[in-house]
């Protein structure tokens, strides 16, 4: 069986398992929908009170917000296995079982726990995108759709890369460190506002170290047809999502080093 088919099979099995507890799955999905939706209230209330922020309007910020939440929802569903690697696999010794199977470990982890509830965040992000379309009058030309899909793919790769790094770290710490939430949930939080609002050092971090701006800010500018107040040329948004894939490749590089370092806990 090919890798893609295997991943599909694993995801299907995981979803099937969760569907056996429909009430729980529904409640957790609803919780995700509401829990991620409260940030919408903050954004809306700030615009309601202040009108605009440095020339950005609510509809435009809604585009950043929707894109970034859709990306993270997909990556979070795929990367759950890396997130819980320390507590569920390394500490229990269950990781040895994965190593014995003649299939890529990363693939097995991606299919391990594909959470239905992440659909709550995806739905919320989608609704905000629809709102942004109406509010900011976005014309979804084929080019704009292409940029959006490319940005989404790059963003999923970037967030997955962050989760892979979190998993890699747990080869050394043997527990899942919550500090990684700074980059996952905190990354969503940071990327849902225009990059131009932040201090310069923070903009550099978000562009060159954890390239969240490359998968959200620059492509969204290209979709809006808005010139960058910071002066980046217009083509940047069409190429910058590549940075997400580069980040993922680098994360898997680190992952292989971690894997070589792994010694079973022996239980």
């Amino acid at each position: 069986m090919g890798s893609i088919a295997l991943l599909a099979r694993l995801v299907k099995a995981s979803l099937g398992g969760q569907a056996r507890y429909p009430a729980s799955a529904l409640m957790l999905t609803l919780g995700q929908f509401l829990g991620t939706g409260i940030e919408v209230i903050a954004v809306w209330a700030l615009f309601h009170r202040f009108g605009e922020v440095q020339g950005w309007r609510l509809g435009e910020v809604a585009l950043f917000y929707g894109l970034v939440n859709c990306m993270f929802a997909v990556a979070d569903a795929l990367g759950r296995g890396f997130d819980t690697l320390g507590t569920e696999f390394l500490r229990t010794g269950a990781f040895d079982r994965l190593l014995l199977r003649p299939r890529p470990v990363a693939l097995q982890l991606m299919g391990h726990d594909f959470r239905i509830s992440r659909a709550g965040r995806l739905l919320q992000g989608g609704l905000v995108l629809a709102f942004a379309t109406v509010q900011a009058d976005i014309g979804w030309t084929p080019a704009a759709v292409g940029i959006a899909l490319f940005a989404l793919a790059g963003g999923v790769a970037l967030f997955l890369g962050i989760l892979v790094l979190q998993g890699t770290l747990s080869f050394w710490t043997v527990e899942s460190l919550e500090i990684a939430n700074v980059l996952t949930y905190g990354g969503v939080q940071a990327a849902q506002y225009p990059l131009a609002l932040y201090a310069q050092w923070f903009r550099r971090v978000l562009t060159f170290i954890v390239p969240l701006a490359c998968v959200a800010y620059y492509p969204a500018l290209a979709i809006l047809g808005k010139p960058d107040p910071l002066g980046a040329p217009a083509w940047v948004g069409m190429a910058s999502p590549l940075a997400g894939f580069v980040f993922l490749a680098a994360a898997f590089g680190a992952w292989r080093i971690g894997l070589r370092h792994y010694a079973s806990t022996g239980s």
Partner: protein
């Protein structure tokens, strides 16, 4: 039965509070990790608020930028006061059946869980708020970011009112956590309850945004609802936005909600415990 002296009566509760408090203080890595996350979070909030304030005319804003920034650090420092999770120890006791032991102890079950949960919250809140104060009130100005710093309270009276209000906030938060605990006992599982409680509490406590920045039309209702007493009322007292008789009214409102929620929790607990079927062994 001869009446016991008060000291004897409260002794088990004080002991339960102290042991849980000291136990939770041991988790230093967790406190540091939480602190790191909260600095990042607070930093983003501060930059976003500064950007919004930067463009707008100050006339329509009920809170200055410096106050809004201090509010962000304060609410990040007091994050664990926000009652979005039931006490995990209670959830575990329900799952393992250890809740049966609590039923056998010759003390009031509600009061025992209340003081334990209060110890759990207080021991996580104190180190975090102290670290946050050092970071935002001392380190940031030293690093040349004085504009982003945590400002001192408006006056000595404001500081005293804030401290009193913070203690009430702890009691209020514990009363809310108790309701979550009891719901956990009734449902035998905490995940769904925690997932639904979180969003409501985060918005209405003022943790998400200072309540005064929400639309003006909602202000009266926002101030009266019980969650305001967890973060927003202490913060208003800190800034002197409520002073004199208004400060007393704020503290009174907190006391009112504590009394209501404790009474509600007590009744709900009696009811739930009568129906409880212990599953573990």
């Amino acid at each position: 039965m001869t009446p016991m002296p008060v000291r004897e009566l409260v002794r088990p509760y004080v002991a339960a509070f102290a042991s849980r408090f000291l136990q939770m203080l041991q988790y230093r890595t967790a406190a540091l990790a939480g602190f790191g996350t909260q600095c990042w979070w607070g930093g983003i909030k501060v930059m976003v608020l500064a950007a919004f304030y930067g463009g707008a005319s100050m006339a329509g804003t009920p809170m200055s930028l410096a106050q809004a920034i201090t509010y962000s650090w304060l609410s990040q420092g007091l994050l664990v006061l926000v009652p979005w999770l039931g006490d995990p120890e209670v959830a575990q006791a329900v799952r393992t059946g250890a809740v049966a032991y609590d039923r056998l102890r010759p003390v009031d079950a509600y009061a025992l869980w209340f003081v334990r949960s209060a110890g759990w919250i207080a021991a996580r809140a104190l180190p975090r708020v102290a670290l946050m104060a050092v970071f935002a009130a001392v380190a940031l100005p030293l690093a040349g970011l004085g504009d982003w710093a945590w400002q001192p309270p408006a006056s000595l009276a404001a500081a005293i009112a804030f401290l009193a209000s913070a203690v009430l906030a702890l009691l209020l938060s514990t009363a809310m956590v108790m309701l979550l605990n009891i719901a956990t006992v009734a449902a035998l599982n905490e995940r769904g309850i925690n997932a639904l409680a979180g969003p409501v509490v985060i918005v209405f406590s003022g943790n998400l945004l200072p309540l005064v920045l929400l639309p003006d039309a909602w202000q009266a209702a926002l101030l009266m609802q019980p969650f305001a007493g967890v973060v927003d009322i202490p913060a208003r007292l800190y800034f002197g936005l409520m002073s004199g008789p208004h400060a007393l009214a704020g503290l009174g409102l907190q006391c009112f909600w504590i009394a209501v929620l404790v009474a509600l929790g007590h009744a709900a607990m009696d009811r739930t415990m009568r129906r409880l079927e212990v599953q573990g062994g």
